[in-house]
Symmetry: C2
Subunit: 674 residues, 2 copies
């Protein structure tokens, strides 16, 4: 593994996003999601379950204050730690205990992370002041030794780090560190960063391989990548060491999750699959268990592999990546085929209607993909990242930014969602807010930082993984390189890049050739050195200001089928164009979508369409509808005869736009003929 | 409704079954299931979960004895009634409480019912002595006032009839009455019958519409039809009145199930759908909730409708029947599409791989069908009865009678059963015995009494609903009519009926023309009056001994498809021949059955086959296999192109024979082309 291959995300402060598509999403996050989320954190959303997030921080801060004032005379009250979620017996009448989900602290951290990214694109003194005030409350809740999880600080400090498997302390730390780093990078203010660092140091003092420490690791991963972010920001090796320890200790025997609950004779090998702690990570060959946790872990593994140039860890990442991408990935970029454990199912088991495909899992896959790209610039990683972003991630949010999906199925029959308990995890309409509100704030922080996924840089190269329109300042190796990207993705494959710096030395722009492209045209200044490798077109020259590259990647409508081993999609095909997966909705196609079939050899047309307040490319596909008039009067079983069909024009819209017109059927994979 | 249409099942004592097919099944029950079951009832099966059934009866008998001896000085110990199942803390070390499932008493009742039917076909003094001894124990457990449920007699008599919704007392009574009636009919011994009658009278003294009684009804239905059986056997109207009351009270407001748990302001309307107690039965238009309970209720409703000539109740039965048969029935005769509540799903929701289709539910459907036939002799009822019997009922038992399915899916991928929690109710192989052992003994009692489903009689008519080979004595109206039926069903449609009595007056043999028949040939004595009505061919004459009828119902291989509103079967077809549904197994067709397609216009051949110790008709069907060599190396998604196929001969075996060669894939519905 050559260190010189590694690249890093472009700092968001060196980027001004002008992209039509993503700018709109970022604005939604800025104007809708972030303010709404702040109200939610403060329990001010009428009709929504209270979060108790800021309330818990304030309560923990009171306790710290009392401690400081009373010193050793202070004997805190304790509360039982028995429930995953604590709700007041009477709403509004709270006693001193912690309320809400036990990982509720992380709601603040995700919010402040999204705020940070938003501020770096769109300064907003009022929002920044709100964030500063919130940070003050959070910091006031921190214990003198650095510990900061309000669930334990409020309820029972004696139980700190006694249930790493279930109780999300290290998860809350991870989100805190991510938010703190982002806020520091956006504003230069280090109050929260210092708090996160103190918490990290406290963790390192309690957990680790050394005598007297607990040999634990996170039950819900994220601390690994968060620590790596702290390390990369501060250069302090203790964070790298703790992250490496977490990665390397995981899955060893005796299982720490047994040790902490004093199990002596552990039953079966695989019971910690849910937490990816069933095997040492280098021995894991299949992506298993809770999908979000899995890709968060793999992201941390990739970070550690890069920082430590650990070839075996990198290979483990590649193995797990390949398993996901070749056997466990929905066409939408969704992962986690089963709601049982919100988990990966077995190879090739990708049911459309009972899919889980949690928004957060698709987001986590984007994290993982970007880190694989940093390790090795291969377009296949960016292809998956792009697939998730334009489909299974964005489908999580309504077009107005006001409601959200946790679960992103590929086929929905609303009647089944209402009547069939097997599908009760599938909601036929997006929800305003969830008690366990992981997906909306996760969407907010990803979308507002989209620039750090579109571009990575190393000393002499800027990688364009996604064609995100924007003004860029690359700055690796101390040399500033400015450039502008124009793009109409995902609707049009004509993109251009203009260099806005005069460079004396050769510099490379590495343009991704998407996996969906069937060739491309390129127009680059004469004398530019061109090299194609692993799906990237490397264009090298001593660029002069104003020189530009135009690339045209024709977008055609593609009928896409799944591997024949995917039982659920046998005989079916989906429609794609560029990176966008399409779907049919009842609103356009009537009820009983399962009676429609798409003709492989019929004419399929893409055309601009205005609907649902959006301008997008819609598709009409030649197809047919199986006649079923009066079927309710017909017997349930009858002698087979070739069905009667009528010609039908199938109307497809982008999958991420589904369910913005009320409840109705939806379907991605459709039976195909011809 | 004309009373003279009504018919009654032929008494089993008037029948000697000679049928090749069913005789073999009956022998399995006699030689394998009944003895095994007796060992199980007595906790003598090594490796199987103990039943505690006979142990509980003995324990309750001790208590009764103590009571009698000590009189009012006796203060029984009580035990908490909190669990659905009680297991000893240390196996083998029992204290005085009740053990096992709270409905464990019924295991004895089902066993004694099967024994009774078996004795009527196959006298066996030793078995009869065993049964007599068991009955003695059971009767000794009965309380002086007639109450007889060991769960309450042992644990806490003060709680009797306080939880009709969940605690199965009336269910246990129902099975006791069924077993008792059967044993009396087979042996003439009335000890158990008297016990059941006393229990019935006790129930009537405690539950009913009169002031001071509880206005309750069974949470798990069966008492309705059991009481009707007692009524028809004894002529005592109190049983009819109690059954009618149960049927008529059910679902009225305030809900008794609320009243008994002292709920004042009941939430939502439909929460007692599970128990079919959400609406008065005459207002129920959709079959909902627990499928076994549902068809047991409907059977009782049909019995009451017949005895009371209640037209509105009969209509309710018809409505519910139609809903099942038109919208909720698997092609195998299975019902109950979801394991959630072991229940009916919504209309047309008939998934193949997650099907529940409990063996007992198919058995209950046979009960319901026979009763609908008694009300109105229409072949459509017998068609469904036959469909269930030859397919979804028999599939519940291995060919050697030694292992059983609770769940009868129409498609199985063993890997999914092992790895996918959504399918953990689907077992890839039959189980030896279940803790909750309802299906094996239910199979035993149905199979041993198959004759009472094959034939019903009224004064001047013998109905042949199924062509069960046997020697028959019809005796309605005091006139003995003897006949013999020869049949090779389900493999061959040539059947014959020979009259073995000389009759002075005209008498009618009503021969069913199966719904699957495409015409038939008939050879009857000259001068026989022939009338075809509702799927029965009525043949009337003053039959002379030796006169016979030969009917040939050609059996061809049929490709059968589901109604287009059944989403799961779109584009697919199943293979049937006569009443038998066929399936493909991995053992014959290799892995990945989903890659196989059957050609509608290809040649399909039926031929005698010997395998798995059986002689049966196997089918080979012309089809094709989608090429998928090396698919594991191919990407998960790719541009659609018409698949490559290779010609394939699809090997089908009868569905009920599946899974007698170890674990493997199985599939009933297959994609069809042409």
């Amino acid at each position: 593994m050559e260190r010189r291959d590694f690249s890093n995300p472009l700092p968001l402060t060196g980027l001004r996003v002008t992209d039509n598509f993503w700018k709109k999403e970022m604005e939604l996050v800025r104007t809708e999601v972030i303010p709404y989320q702040w109200e939610a954190l403060n329990d001010r959303v009428p009709g929504a379950a209270p979060s108790f997030c800021m309330r818990n921080y304030k309560r923990a801060a009171e306790i710290q204050k009392e401690k400081r004032e009373k010193g050793s005379a202070y004997v805190p009250q304790t509360w039982p730690l028995t429930t995953f979620e604590t709700l007041p017996k009477e709403p509004g009448r709270l006693d001193g205990r912690f309320y809400g989900f036990l990982f509720q602290d992380s709601d603040f951290s995700k919010w402040v992370e999204a705020v940070a990214y938003s501020l770096s694109q769109h300064p907003d003194p009022e929002l920044e002041r709100t964030a500063d005030e919130a940070i003050e409350i959070v910091c006031a809740a921190q214990r003198e030794d650095g510990y900061l999880d309000t669930y334990y600080l409020i309820n029972d400090e004696s139980a700190i780090f006694t249930n790493l498997r279930d109780n999300h302390e290290l998860y809350c730390f991870g989100h805190l560190a991510e938010g703190a780093a982002a806020y520091y990078q956006a504003t230069g203010k280090d109050g929260l960063l210092k708090a996160a660092e103190r918490f990290a140091s406290y963790i390192a003092s309690q957990i680790g391989p050394e005598e007297g420490k607990k040999r634990g690791y996170p039950g819900h991963e994220i601390a690994e990548m968060a620590l790596m972010r702290l390390y990369e920001l501060t250069g302090k090796r203790e964070y790298l060491e703790l992250a490496s320890y977490f990665v390397n200790e995981r899955g060893r025997k005796p299982y720490y999750f047994d040790v902490e609950r004093k199990l002596v004779c552990p039953p079966g090998e695989l019971r910690y699959q849910y937490n990816q702690a069933h095997l040492p990570v280098r021995e894991q060959e299949e992506a298993v268990g809770h999908a979000v946790r899995a890709v968060y872990l793999y992201s941390g593994m990739a970070d550690v592999a890069r920082a430590t140039e650990d070839e075996s860890l990198k290979r483990a990442c590649e193995t797990l990546w390949n398993n996901i991408v070749r056997k466990k990935l929905y066409i939408t970029g969704g992962i986690g085929a089963t709601h049982e454990g919100e988990a990966f199912s077995f190879d090739y088991d990708l049911p459309n209607d009972t899919a889980y495909a949690e928004t957060c899992a698709a987001i986590g896959l984007v994290f993982f993909a970007r880190r694989m790209l940093q390790l090795t610039p291969k377009a296949e990683y960016a292809d998956v990242m792009e697939r998730a972003l334009y489909n299974g991630v964005l489908s999580g949010m309504a077009l107005d930014g006001k409601s959200f999906f946790y679960v992103n199925p590929l086929e929905v029959l609303p009647e089944a969602c209402h009547k069939d308990k097997r599908k009760q995890h599938v909601k036929p309409v997006r929800q305003k807010w969830f008690g366990c509100a992981c997906c909306p704030p996760n969407l907010a922080r990803l979308i507002s930082s989209i620039g750090s996924y579109a571009y990575t840089e190393k000393e002499d190269t800027l990688f364009l993984h996604l064609y995100l329109g924007g003004e860029i300042t690359a700055q690796a190796g101390g040399r500033q390189v400015r450039a502008a990207v124009y793009s109409e993705m995902p609707w049009n494959g004509a993109v251009s890049l203009e260099c806005r710096s005069d460079l004396d030395e050769p510099y490379t722009f590495a343009l991704r050739i998407p996996g969906w492209a069937d060739g491309y045209e390129l127009d680059a200044p004469e004398g530019t050195k061109r090299e194609e490798k692993d799906g990237y077109l490397y264009l090298t020259r001593a660029w002069k200001k104003g020189e530009s590259v135009r690339m045209n990647i024709p977008m055609k409508i593609r009928l896409v089928c799944a591997n024949p081993l995917v039982r659920e999609d046998t005989g079916k095909a989906a429609v794609m164009r560029g990176p966008v997966v399409y779907c049919m909705e009842e609103a356009d196609n009537g009820k009983n979508l399962h009676l429609l079939e798409i003709g492989a050899d019929e004419m399929h047309t893409a055309a601009g369409r205005d609907a649902m307040g959006e301008h997008f490319i819609g598709i009409t596909a030649g197809g047919r509808r199986r006649m079923a008039d009066g079927a309710e009067e017909e017997p349930l079983y009858a002698e087979y005869r070739a069905p009667d069909y009528e010609k039908a024009e199938l109307v497809y819209i982008p999958y991420y736009m589904w369910n913005n017109r009320g409840e109705g059927e939806m379907q991605v994979f459709t039976r195909v003929y011809g």
